[in-house]
Every structure is written in structure tokens, then in C-alpha cells.
Symmetry: D2
Subunit: 477 residues, 4 copies
């Protein structure tokens, strides 16, 4: 129910379970643990072995599903999805799982990530007679599977996935199988676990903790898992297996109690904060973090620097979906709903304000101003990741490059623009060090595209907003 104060938004979280008598309930709780990955819509599809049933709607998991509906979704396998949606696509149709009925069997798909060649594939499919009911790139996957000439489901899916380019962690449900796949670069997190005698998959491991599942392992890049009454069967649809997992999952998106590739997110963030204190030290009286995602980094910064961590900024826990925005006049007189600076903590102090990232800079500017109005003598901004200079095409709603402050301004300029007394970002190599699994898995690479512009996949005209086309497409090809 917390309104976001950031300009960065993850697009989805997915969950699946096979072989549990209360599969829909488990999915409800699993999705609830993944709610931070999307608050606009939620859905569940369940199979009882004979047929699939669904329930979905706009809002939080707890708003979309009530006890009656859940009781109605009986079955021992299920998949679910929570969704963040950009302004244009808030229609019911786009809420996932997408659900397709057919006389030869139904199919439900839930997808986290973004396909960069969806528009191209869609055009080809439409030319040969497919009709689309959503604007979602996910619907393309279903059509490809349907069109495949392969005989068995698993082969149809593999053939289809090979045509996709981009980021995709997907769970699919048919009457008697749960199918799980991750793109060949493993750009989104996806883990598999055991729950009783069955299996669970989830975007983040925090969902396992909540449903009492036991973590087994990450789904690997290019891997496809088929889970049915025979157990879990692994196969690969792609030979590429160089992981390029989104670094922002560590820095900002994932829940602090999740582990990605064996790394606990809270611990990673503390390390980011410690590194930041090493490379960008500053004389100050208190360290404060921008809630909620930067708290861990701020604590790390405080531990490393010896400057005490204090609660200089506080977020109202009760900011709901619908509240009355202060008018311009009231805002100017100091009325604020979501975040407050704590005068008693910051007054007369030199404050280190730790944040995990800056997108457009407007929020940072407000927070610096808030701290100064509350009496901070100096505000030193420390960012626990490098400047975001390039847009993301893999499922994260970064504004286009025109809106990314670091795409067009130097760090010094940014510091001035937001009113900071000093500003430092964490360098890329320091970030990678902090993020790397401490027991060092050589295969575990990261997507750093938003910091470097080195996109791990080809880009296609239609996946790129007009503004960036010239630069990016030109640059890439």
C-alpha cells in the first residue's frame, strides 16, 4: 500500500507451485511476499489436473483475492503474478497470468522481464492470422507456442523461447505440468525450491521463506524446467549461459531478506555502503538513509566510517493508494505526506544522506531541501551505485535517456542541481566487488547496461523509444 517515491519500478514478480494440496493459497502467500515487485495488479491460475481456473484484478494481492475466491481455486498446481504497470497499460487484460483456452488444453503464462523483439514477432504473427487481445509482450510467447509444429509441449516451448530476445523469467501452467524458463542471459532472478513433496519457483527467495519452502538453487540461464507428477526435469534451450543478471536487483529492487545467486541482499547493500564509505569518505556527524531501500547501505556506511547511523528521514507507513495530495500552496508552506526529515536529529549537523540511486534527481533534490529546512548544516549525498546513464529495455521502468539526470549531466552538476554540499557515486568496479558472490562463482556476470550502455542483447527499433533511437541503435549496430 506504500506509494513509491522513486522513479525506478520493477515490472513484475512471479511465483509457481506444483504438488501442494493448497496451491492457490501458497501462491497467494508467495505473491504477497513479492508484492514489492508490483502493486498494480495480481493474478493466480490454478490447475486441478483437469482444468485451469483463474482469478485476477487490479490492486494488491490481498485486495484482489478474498477467501471465497481462493477457496474456489482448488488444485495442486498454480502460478501467479504481481504487476507494476506503466500509465498506458493499466487495463485488466494485461494483468497476468495470461490465460488461453483451447480444446486441446489450456495454457497460462506469467512473465517477469521485457522482450526486445516483441513488436517484430507480433507483426509476423499478425500477418499469419493471429489476433491479440492485450498489449503485453507476453502474449507473443503464447502465440509462438501455439504456432509451433512440434508435437510435445516441451519442444513447442523450447522452439518458441529460441525466438525471443530480451529478459524473461517465465512460469507456465498447463493441466498437468508446471514449466519454468529463464532467458539465456539470466537477466532476471528466478529460484526453485522444495515444498513438502512438491516444488516452488519464485522471483525472489523471500517468497520461499514465507511459504515454508526450502531453497534448492537458481534456475540457470537458458534452462527450462518441467515439473510434473514424475518430478522435476531440467533441459536447456540455449547454449549461451553467461549470466548477466540485473545489478539493480541487488542495489534497489529485491527485498533485503532475499538471496540472489546465494548473496543476501541486505548484506550486499551493507557492503555497498561500506565500499562507499571507503571510496567517498566525508567528515560528518550523522549518517541517514533514504527509506526504505537505502537503510542497509546507510548502516554499512555508518559501520565503516564510524559516524553514527541515525533516523534522519522517516517514511509514513500509512501512505495508501488514494490520498489527497497537498495543494501547491500547502506544499510551499511545508506540508508533506510521505517523507519527513527529523529536525532533532539533523539540526546543526553535517549529514551523510545515503541513497541507492538517482534517476531523475527530482526526489533527491526534495530530500536534500527537506534536510536543510530541518536544520542540517551540510548534506553530503552518497549513492551506493554508479550514475544511471542509459535506459533499461529489460523490464525496468527507467525513464528515457532524456529524463535520466546522469545521462546529461556530470556528477558535479548533479550535486549542484540537487543542492548537495558534496556528492559521490560508488564506482562500477566497487559495486561489482560488493555484489559478487563472496565464494566467487566465475559464471556470475551482471548486466551493467544502465551504467555503461553495453546492452547484453541486440536492440530492435520498436523496443526503443524514439528519443534514444539514433544514439543507441546507431551505437549498437
Amino acid at each position: 500500500m506504500l506509494a513509491e517515491i522513486k522513479g525506478l519500478n520493477e515490472e513484475c514478480g512471479i511465483f509457481g507451485v506444483y504438488g501442494h494440496t493448497q496451491a492457490a493459497h501458497m501462491t497467494y502467500y508467495g505473491l504477497h511476499a513479492l508484492q514489492h515487485r508490483g502493486q498494480e495488479g495480481a493474478g493466480v491460475v490454478v490447475s486441478n489436473g483437469q482444468e485451469l481456473k483463474q482469478a485476477k484484478g487490479q490492486g494488491l494481492v490481498t485486495e484482489v483475492l478474498d477467501e471465497n475466491e481462493l477457496m474456489n481455486l482448488s488444485g495442486s498446481s498454480a502460478i501467479g503474478h504481481v504487476r507494476y504497470s506503466t500509465a498506458g497499460g493499466k487495463t485488466y487484460e494485461n494483468i497476468q497470468p495470461l490465460f488461453f483456452r483451447s480444446s486441446t488444453g489450456s495454457l497460462a503464462i506469467a512473465h517477469n522481464g521485457n522482450l526486445v523483439n516483441a513488436n517484430k514477432l507480433r507483426e509476423e504473427l499478425e500477418c499469419s492470422g493471429s489476433i491479440f487481445q492485450t498489449t503485453s509482450d507476453t502474449e507473443v510467447i503464447a502465440h509462438l507456442i501455439k504456432r509451433s509444429k512440434q508435437d510435445v509441449m516441451i519442444e513447442r516451448v523450447k522452439e518458441s523461447l529460441c525466438e525471443l530476445e530480451g529478459a524473461y523469467a517465465v512460469v507456465m501452467l498447463v493441466e498437468n505440468q508446471l514449466i519454468v524458463a529463464l532467458d539465456p542471459r539470466g537477466m532476471r532472478p528466478l529460484s526453485v525450491g522444495r515444498v513438502g513433496s512438491g516444488y516452488a519457483v519464485a522471483s525472489e527467495t523471500c517468497a520461499f521463506d514465507v511459504v515454508g519452502a526450502e531453497y534448492m538453487r537458481e534456475v540457470e540461464p537458458g534452462e527450462i524446467l518441467v515439473i510434473d507428477d514424475e518430478g522435476m526435469h531440467s533441459d536447456y534451450f540455449s547454449k549461451t549461459k553467461n549470466r548477466a543478471i540485473c545489478t539493480m536487483e541487488y542495489v534497489y529492487f529485491a527485498r533485503p531478506d532475499s538471496n540472489v545467486d546465494g548473496n543476501n541482499i541486505h548484506s550486499v547493500r551493507k557492503r555497498l555502503g561500506k565500499k562507499l564509505a571507503e571510496v567517498a569518505p566525508v567528515k560528518a556527524d550523522v549518517v541517514t538513509g533514504v527509506p526504505d531501500s537505502s537503510i542497509s547501505a546507510a548502516i554499512g556506511f555508518a559501520e565503516q566510517s564510524g559516524i553514527p547511523y541515525e533516523l534522519g528521514l522517516i517514511k509514513n507507513r500509512y501512505v495508501g493508494r488514494t490520498f489527497i495530495q497537498p495543494s501547491q500552496e500547502l506544499r510551499e508552506r511545508g506540508v508533506q505526506m510521505k517523507l519527513s526529515a527529523v529536525r532533532k536529529i539533523v539540526e546543526g549537523k553535517r549529514v551523510v544522506m545515503v541513497d541507492d540511486s538517482i534517476v531523475r534527481g527530482t526526489t533527491s533534490k526534495k530530500i536534500v531541501k527537506m534536510l536543510k529546512q530541518a536544520g542540517a548544516k551540510e548534506v553530503h549525498v552518497r549513492i551506493s551505485s554508479p550514475p544511471i546513464t542509459h535506459p533499461c529495455f529489460y523490464g525496468i521502468d527507467t525513464s528515457n535517456a532524456g529524463e535520466l539526470i546522469a545521462a546529461n549531466h556530470s556528477v558535479e552538476e548533479i550535486g549542484e542541481m540537487i543542492g548537495a554540499d558534496s556528492i559521490s557515486y560508488l564506482p562500477i568496479d566497487s559495486m561489482v566487488e560488493a555484489v559478487d558472490r563472496q565464494d566467487s562463482n566465475p559464471n556470475c556476470g551482471h548486466c551493467l547496461a544502465c551504467f555503461t550502455g553495453n546492452y547484453p542483447t541486440d536492440l530492435y527499433e520498436d523496443s526503443v523509444p524514439p528519443y534514444e533511437k539514433e544514439q543507441l541503435i546507431g551505437a549498437k549496430n
Copy 2:
């Protein structure tokens, strides 16, 4: 929207403003900042100088009031209330401010605290013909004022307040005055501030920060303030002025960014944590706090002990009002909605679990178990306040003494009951030291009744649930 996981609940928060063109909007934002003090109901009464209008309802401030209703509440003075209510009294009638209409003028009252002689006064009033429409002790105050033979409002109010025994911070609104009063022991926090050329009052100073008001001072014990177009006028209705402010406001209730008697709550809690580390040290690997209210104390404990603070417990931010409780079966299999232990942080570790208080012990037991199931080798419980051995009659929903674990068990027994490897509470004197204003105000005493049984007021039969009567009433008189 966060469901409480504690057995301790504050009964109310109050806010008032005089001399601001958008008094209702200001009250909306002020109440929103006080939402943690009560989530069951909210209300606003506004005066435009000629007449009073109200809007109230069940739920959060943001749910009760929409833009249309707020626009309809035009006027330059207003009072508001957020309410926590116990199971029996969740009726619309009890939502405050209470509003009384009369041909000679209307009156609205909002009250934080609890009167211990309400039932006695009520009986007397009923005998002489008063009829009551609520079960709220607050309605008694209105009847007393109405019955007073004094000529001017202020005198009627003073006469009435003198009959009350217990805890009360009240704001009252008539057509052209805002009246503010605090009981002679100042048992509840209440501050007054300036907002533009007008005034604001609030249960906690965090509300001032949110509406851009400037803190002036605490309302003093036994003080009555009349705010009208002439300005603010102070008077005293009681000669007793020995403050006995509720210690639990510091320990648990107040928002960390509020200041009470000049003490920042977060800082007090860090000091409580530091004291706790001094008096009850333990060899351990990580310190973790029970979110949200114990985080500050845990950070203090970590700073003092040198043991790193980690996020070993995490609360789901999206636990809404209505969610589907896991069935007994699912709970036993490990399904949990609100709080998770972070395996990666606690596995194989000796964990210090810092909490601010234990009421019935059931929650603490669950959390210890959760930490152990997540692999904690040892769990050392450290409580940043003394054992709660006596019930509160001043507006806090402590269960009766029969349910208070510390009323019937030694600390050692409690440790065993909740499964801790060790347990320590902060001694009373250490707590008082930590809470005391650092610039030491000699008048600033505390109510310690729930720790000591020394109630600062007389107690009356009807204010005491059957169970405690014998012990307490006997003891006191």
C-alpha cells in the same frame, strides 16, 4: 495499513488548528502523521466561525476522507482524532471528535487518554437526566460542560475538568474558539506550535513537521489554552503540575521522529538500546531488532556492543486490513504473512534479538521460534524496558494482569517460555536515565505504573476489570 503485531495499543491521537485558511486539510495531514496512534477510525470537525461541520468514519484518515468531503469542510479552525478501538466498541458513534449540537452553540471534543472515574460521573449525570449515545468516556466531559452553571465557556470547561480523574489530552472546538487542555499530571503528550499566523496542537510533534508548523512548547500539566482571534491565552485549572508522562510513549508508541518534552524519540530509543548493551551484554554475532518500533534500540545496542546490526527480521510492508490468514495447517508448515526471519543473516549465528517490550509473550515466542527455524544457533532476547507487571488504566490497551506474562512469571520463566537462550530486561533506573531529557528538567516525571503498580491517580471500581479489582483497589486505597 500495517496490521499490528503487538499486544500494546495506544488509544488515540489528536490534532487541532486555529487560524489557517485550510484548517480541514491541515488536520487531514496532521492526523495522517499521527496515524500510528490509531487506525480504526478518524474524524474531523471544522468551524467557519458560524457553524461546525464534521466528517468521520471507520478506517484510516486517507480512507475516511476524500477530496470532495474535505473541500466541503471549509473553515479556519478544526480538530481531529484518530482512534484505536478495542473489540467491543467499534461502533460509528464512538469515533471522535464527538459532536454536540445546541441552539446556543455546538461543541466538538477529541480526547486522548482514559478517565478512571468516567463510570461514576456517568451514573451521576444519568441520574439527573442526561442521556448518552456513546460508550465513550469522552461523552462525560461534554455533559459536564453542558451542566455547568458557569457563564462563560472557559469557566464551564475548567469546572468540568476539575471533576475528571485520569489521563486526558483534549482539544475542543466551538464556533470561534479552540480549547486545549491536559490533565494535571500530563500523562499524555501534547504540544502546541505556530503555523503561519495561527496555531496548531498535536499529540506528537511529527504532525508539526508534516504540516510545516513550528514547535513552540509542550502543553503543561493542568494547563488550559484558549485560542481565538485574540491569540492564545493560557490558564491553569489545577494546582498539581507534577508531570507523570507515560513512559511507554518513549519506549513504544510515539513515532521516532517525534520529540516529547524536548527528547527525540529515536534518540531516546538508541540510548535505551545502549544502556541495555551495558547492563546486559552478551557474546553474539549479530544484533537484530523486531520491526518497526525496536529498530532504534537495536541500532543503539549494536553501536554500544560493537556487534554488527543486521536485518535479521523483516516485516511485509503490504499487510493490509483484510488478508487471508494462513490456516492452522499452513502455519504449521511454516507459512507466515507479516514477519520473516532472514535465513542468510541468522543461520549458524548467535543472535541478539532486541525488542521494546513483552506483553503476553506469544509474539516473542513466535519470533524466537522463527529465528531458530531459520538457523539461529542462539537467540538472546534483550528488552529495552522493564517487565510490564501491571495493567494500564490511562488509555493503553494492555491486557488485564492475568494476560501480562511478567505479572505472573519471573524473568527466567519468561525466557524459558519464549524459548530464548538468555533474556534480559532494562532495569527501571536505567530506563529513566535514558528517557530523561538530557538538559534535565526537574519537573519532568514519568508514569511508571505498568512497571511498578504505583498508579499516579486514584483508581475507581468501574475503571478496573474484575480480575484486578481485589489486588489493585485494595492495594491503592
Copy 3:
């Protein structure tokens, strides 16, 4: 759920039951049958012999109460109320039954009608210390009962009722009694019946049919009934017993399947229509009634005149509480939501349009225009009651005299204003003949005040809106 298209609105319906294991359910169904008497709010208070519980809210009975709430209202006696409220008083507080708690016992009251001396009584009560929480005249009754020095409840009630002037059918509930009373002129309908071994009372007998109760008799003017475990006891608090029942109950308000004083409403209305055809015949091709309340009169007119009854006007059954009003532009282009003229029926025809009454004339004007636009060659308006020339102060929301078209215009002028080719009203004596119980009860008089200005009670300054004061008060006193 049907939005009203008339300017005439009844203020209430009341229901009570004693000695039925499912008293709240019975009240739910009884109120549902009385829903046409008020759609703005509804409430139920139930007693289980020890304590009273209530549920109430804005909207229809079926919206206010759900199964859970109803299940929670266990007990064997109950009263209920449905309410129409004028714009100013749509607050929750005014929804009835009003409910007063006291250490010596609770009291709930539901009231149909309007007291003309409420303001005067209220002032007196306030002077002696009573405080009011509603703007309802009904609250006065509770205060009077509370103030009474009599020892037993029944005597307190009788003493209080003697102070009231105006129209009141009331049901009151205390822990172990259901008390029923009707004003000394019997201005509102109120019947008592048997249900199993218990009793039921209702504003209209249609509620008895719906709950399977058996009609016993009318409550008599000035009668008070006490129903308890001893049975039903009758008494009189007033010697006046000349009934002056509201004639508009017959003409417009009551449901056609109800009987008042033994007269079936549908049959009365058919007789009104027949009389109208006798006294105001016209050459025409079809007779049509304005739905719903004028259908019976139209059928009577058709039967008497031999002109066929046709469905020339139709009302949309699905006009809900919230619908989007056609814009002025669309209305001018002929868009209409609630009522349609049926072209095929009226085109080229001479139409008799039967309506039961005209208040402001605006609706009649629209309907005549609608019929003409649908091709009617002539529209002859026939009204089955006399011109309404005076406002009602007894619980019917007739606009003030300034808005009553017949208060300021001759019948001919009205005909011209509404565009009718001819217009006739039913004369008073014809109406009285039609309304009179056919087996002629000599005591059965009618209030004809809105047609004649002869008000059966004294009028008080405050009960009369400013506009009429001079004329009426002057005229009366």
C-alpha cells in the same frame, strides 16, 4: 433502487417485532417491504433481553445489512426504520432507530412523522442541561422520557408523549419491552399483527404479508401498546381520538398492496380513478398512467370511461442510485433516463394522462412534452387528488408554499403552464368518498391540510419555514 421522479417524499417507515427467535431477520424483511417509504438510510436495534445492539447505515436495507451483521444481531425483539432525508440532514447520526445507552437500561426509538413543537421542546431541554447529538426531532422524545420523574417506563413515556404536538407513529425498544404509540390524531398509519406467538407492528400492512404476520388491527389515535412477555397491553395517553390520517398515504405514498384502516390502497386508487372519470370525462383514445403510483388510478379511469388503458409511459427499472445525468445538450436532443413515452401507443392519439398529484408542476410539464414529442395529438391531464395548496408539517417533504404550483396558480393556469390540452383535479368531496372505508367507520377522519390549509394541530413558529410564517401562523392563531 429506483430514483424518485416526484417532488413528494415520505419521511419514514417503521417496523417492530416481539417474541420471534429471529427478530432481526424479521425486521430486515419487514423494512424491505417498507423501503418505498425511505431509501436514504436504514437501521435495526435488537434486544436479547439483556442488552440492545444496533446496526445502521446509509442506503437501502439490503445495502446496510449483510448476513454477518444480521447474524450478530441475535435476540427476540427488534425495531427498525427506513428513512428518507432532506438534503441538509443526510448525516449518519440522524439515521434511526436512535439509540441511547444508560446504566439503568438502554432505549431505542424509531419514529415516522414530524413534531411541530420539537424546536420549542428542544430549547427547553437544552436550557436545563440536555445535550443533543442529532438534528432529529425524535431525539427530543428520548430526552423527555429520560427527564420524566415517573417511576415506571410506561408512565414516563405517556407523560412525555403528552408534551408532543404533531404527527408521530413510534416504536420503542427497551431490554424487555416493545412500546408502540400513535399520536392523538392518528396522522400516520400504524398496524399491529400477530406473528407466531409474538407480535409485529408496521407502518403498512404490506410488511405483515412479507413476514408472514397476521393483521390484527390499526393502532388507534392516542393509544400506547406495551408488548412484553406478558403479552400486549393497551392504554391511552390522550382523550382525543379523532383520526385525521394523512390522505396522501392513500393517494400516493402507501404501497398498493397495503391496507390502511381496512382499505386496500390499490382499490382506493382505482376508485379515485373511477370518480375522476365521472367528474372529469374527456373524449380520448387511450388512458395512460404515470408510473408507478398512478397506474391503479389510470386503470380505474379506463374501466369507468371505457377508453382502453395502454402503456403510454414506461419507467426504466434499472435507474440506480448513481447514474450519469444526460448533459443539457443531450437532454435537449431527447436523451432521457427514467421515463419514456411509447411512440407506437400515443402517436396520433388523444391521450388521457392520469397522475396522482402535482407538486411543483415541473415533472408534469416534462411528461406532457414527452407525450407530445412522441406524437400524441392531445394530452388531457387528470389528477386523482385535489390541488395541493398548502405545505405539510407532519412529515412529508412538500416544498414550501412558494414552490407549490397550486398555491399560486389557478387550475387553468396550471394546465397552460404544463402544456396540457385540458386538466382536471378530483374535487375534495369525491376524493373523501373514494377513500372512505366502504363499510364506513364514522371515526375515520382524514387530514386534508395540504388541500385546505386546515391544519389539525397548532403550528409553532419554528416548525414553519420563513416563507409561510406570516400567512399560516397568522391564519391559524
Copy 4:
């Protein structure tokens, strides 16, 4: 909001408008007039010439659309749909218009009727790669259009319609055209009219009256209309043009103020009632109709027989979507929610109860019992249509033949089963005479399949529920 008390349910109503600045508003009002044809779901799709937008949801038109949504649907052409849905298919996806997006243009379809070869077509389409998201037969039409190899839209549509078998009145919207078509037998009503300089189409003419449109003519069997900026262009996709319009539209479904093939429904029903009085006279005291649909027939019966028409049965206007059903115990004690018998009217009388049809007989049985309990001496049931002996496959939810009382019982048996003192149905030829356009259009035939079993189309295995298969399919082929 009125819950249905019949077992007969129409599946849909459709509306379209082209060339009106407020096309969505017009559709809102048009659908509102057609609400009786379906109350489960409603939707609107609008085109502004460049793109299509939609809004749809479960419930009544006035519940699904609010002012904000409607304002958002700007454009000068629109189509809409109201839907009745059977238990199994109450999913959001099935709410119409169905909306398909494509890079070469969008398509929206709204359909009234039922295709009998939908399953067969669907299987063929799925075999060649189409995927379906709904269980609606309507989705088949979209896929056929998409698959067509024709170049221009109109030809693609014509080719597709030729593959359909069954009943279909459809409106389709693309960016710049409104396309309207009726099946070759014209089994469902569909009319076209002018509205300003634009056009409107509707299932029933009552929608024209409500939006101020002028009726032009019926859409003819096998006709396709293309309406665009060039005007309205008519074409035929089928040479068969023998109308076989559903007779039940006259008898039961259509609103009394609608005209079908130039026949006013109310007038037809009066004629049905008159014929019934001729062929099945009875000595009785009063005639009463089962509300609402049988009122017209009852009035006709009364006029013809000379027995007075009275309001012997009354329906509660406030029966909403959610109300608390009386328990079995209360029902047995006489509690009833929807329909009441009026004791005063029927007591001691010989009653003619006119109804339009009997499906399962359970409702008729209840009503007869109700009349007898209210004191009716005799109840003579007169049905203004013949016995329904065969199920409908063209869009009407008649229960399968196993539930149709007249499929398995003689008229005498039915009379006994429902407790009538006598019973008569209107013979088929009398019905046809009454229904026939008085100015006699020779082409105007009727579908009488539910009375005769002579289905005007082929039937397919999958369109027929298992129970009837043997009999019917066997019989037909």
C-alpha cells in the same frame, strides 16, 4: 437491479452509434434502455477515428461506468453490450464487446444470439494456430475475420459470416467504420435509426426513444450494413431472407415500449391476452398478472373478458443484487422477498392469474400457493403462449429439456403440479395471429422451435447439451 424471478433469460443487448460527438454517452444511455436484456456485465468500445478504447465490467451499465470513465471515452462512434451470463461463464473476459488489437487496426465485436457451430469452427481455428482467451462463441467471429484472405474489411466480414450457423445480431467497430449484421433468418431483433446526422443501431427500439434517435427500419435477415463517413451502405451476405424471429421476444423478453417489425410489444401482449380470454374463458372475479412482463397480457385478458383487472400480485421494486435470502424456516413461515399476493384483492375471490410462460413450473407453483394462502378461492392459470417443449440453442437460457415441465408433462398434469384450479395455454396459431404485424408483412416469419422442435437451422453435436443429444440430433438429421 431487479433479480429475475423467471427461469428464462435473454443473453444480450447490443447498441451502436456512428457520427455523434458524444458516442460513448449515447451508448451508455442506449445500453441502459436495454438493461433488461442482461444485467451481469456491460461494456463500451469507442473510436475517435484513430484508435479504439474500451471500458467494461461486471454489473449494470450504471455500475460499470462512471462519469470519469465515460469522459475518457471520447470519439464519434461506439458500440456497446449488456450481458446475461450463465453460472459457468461469469468471467471478465467474456464481457463484451470483445476487443482485439492489431498493428493493422483494432476490431471490437458485440453479439446477441448464439452460434450453433461455434465449437466446430473453434476446433478448426485452433488446429491452424489460433489461441482463444474467452469461452465466448463471439471470439470465433473475430478469428474468422482475421484469417480471411479477402483484401477489404467488408469482404472479410462477409466471408466470415457465411461460415456461421445460428442466431447473431452483431455490431462491429473498427477505427472508421461501424459494421452491422443480422443472421440470414433474422432470429434476433435489430433496428437501425438516425440520430442527428449520424446513425444508431439497437437490439430494441426503446433504446432509440431514450437517446432521441429516429427509427428507420429493421436490419434485414442476411443484411450487412457498413456505416462510415460516406453514410450507410447496405449489402447482403446471404440469399436466404426468410425471417424466423424469436417469438419469445414478443411474449417475454422485449421491453413493452419497444417495437419489433413494426409491432409494439405492449400491444402485441394485450392482443395475446385478449386471444387468451377468447380461447380459454373462465368465470372469475378478478384478473391479475404476474409482474412485470405479464401485466400487458393480463390487461388484455381483463378488457376482453370484462373481469376487472386488479393488482393481486406485487413485486418489490427494491430487490437488489445482494440481499439476504430468507432461511428455509422463515420461508415456511411465509417470509418472502420479491413477490407478494395482495390479500385484500384476492381473498374469497376466483382469480385469473395471467402469466406469459412456464419454464420449470417452480415459480408458478409458488405464486399459485401464495394466492391461495392470501385467500383466493380459485386460481385459474392462463398462459399467453404455448407450452415450451423444446430447448433453445439460439441465445436463450432455457434449461435443458429435462427441466422443461411441458417437455415431460401434459397441460393437465402441469395444472395439477402447480396447484391451479384450471390451466390453459394459448394455442400456437392464436399466438402467431396476435404477434403478426397487423399490416401483414408476408416475409415476417417466426421461430417457434421452443414450442414445436422445428429448429430453423442445422444443429451440431457440441451446441447441444448431452441430455438432448440423442433425441434432437437424431430427430433433426
